[in-house]
Symmetry: C2
C-alpha cells in the first residue's frame, strides 16, 4: 500500500497548488459539495470568475481536482489521490523526525552521522 512512486516534482507541485489561501478555500468548498461549477465557486469570493478559473486550472494541473464538462457548465470535484500522497509524505516526514528525535534523546554523542 506504500508503493507510491511519487516524483519530488509532483510533490512540490501538489504543495504549491495548495499553498494559496484562495485555492485552499476552493478545496474546502469542494469538500462540502460533491461537484461545483466555476460560477458557484465564485460566489462569496471577492474575485473575478477568471481568477477562480485560473485557480481551478492550477488545481487541475496538479491533479487535485477533476473536471467534467456538462452542458455550458464545467464542474469540478476533488481528486483525492494527490491529497493522499501528500498526506503520506507529511506523515513520513513527521515519523522520520520523530525517530531522529528519539535517537537524539537516547544517546546524544553516539553515532557519528556521516554516511
Amino acid at each position: 500500500m506504500t508503493g507510491h512512486r511519487l516524483q519530488p516534482q509532483d510533490l512540490a507541485a501538489t504543495f504549491a497548488a495548495l499553498g494559496d489561501q484562495r485555492r485552499l478555500a476552493i478545496v474546502a468548498r469542494l469538500q462540502e459539495a460533491d461537484e461545483l461549477s466555476v460560477s458557484s465557486l465564485r460566489e462569496g469570493m471577492e474575485v473575478s470568475r477568471q481568477a477562480v478559473s485560473k485557480h481551478l486550472r492550477i488545481l487541475a494541473d496538479a491533479q487535485l481536482v477533476s473536471v467534467v464538462k456538462s452542458g455550458r457548465e464545467t464542474r469540478y470535484s476533488l481528486e483525492p489521490k494527490r491529497v493522499e500522497e501528500a498526506n503520506a509524505y507529511l506523515a513520513l516526514v513527521a515519523t522520520k523526525w520523530d525517530r531522529a528525535l528519539e535517537r537524539l534523546k537516547s544517546h546524544v554523542g553516539q553515532e557519528t552521522p556521516d554516511a
Copy 2:
C-alpha cells in the same frame, strides 16, 4: 489533541513553503541529520549559498524549521509542529472526501444531474 486552531493563512503559508523542489530537498536532508548549517546544506545543490539561505528563511518563516546560531554557524533543524498540522489537514480533506463519495454512491439519482 485535535484542538489545533490553525489559521488558513498559516496553512497556506506552510504548503507554499513546501511547494518548491529545492525546499523539499532541504527538508529531506534535515530529516536525515538532526542539525545542518547553511553551507553543509548547500553541498550537492547547484545554487549559491544565498539562495539556500533564502529558502531556509522561507522555511523558518513558515515555522517548518528552527534556527540556532552557534559560533559562526547557523544551524537549522526540522520543526515538526507545522508539518503535523498540515498532515492533519490533509487527512481531514481525504476523510471528508471519503464521506462525500459514500453519500454520492448511496443515492445517486437523487439530485437530477439533468443534461
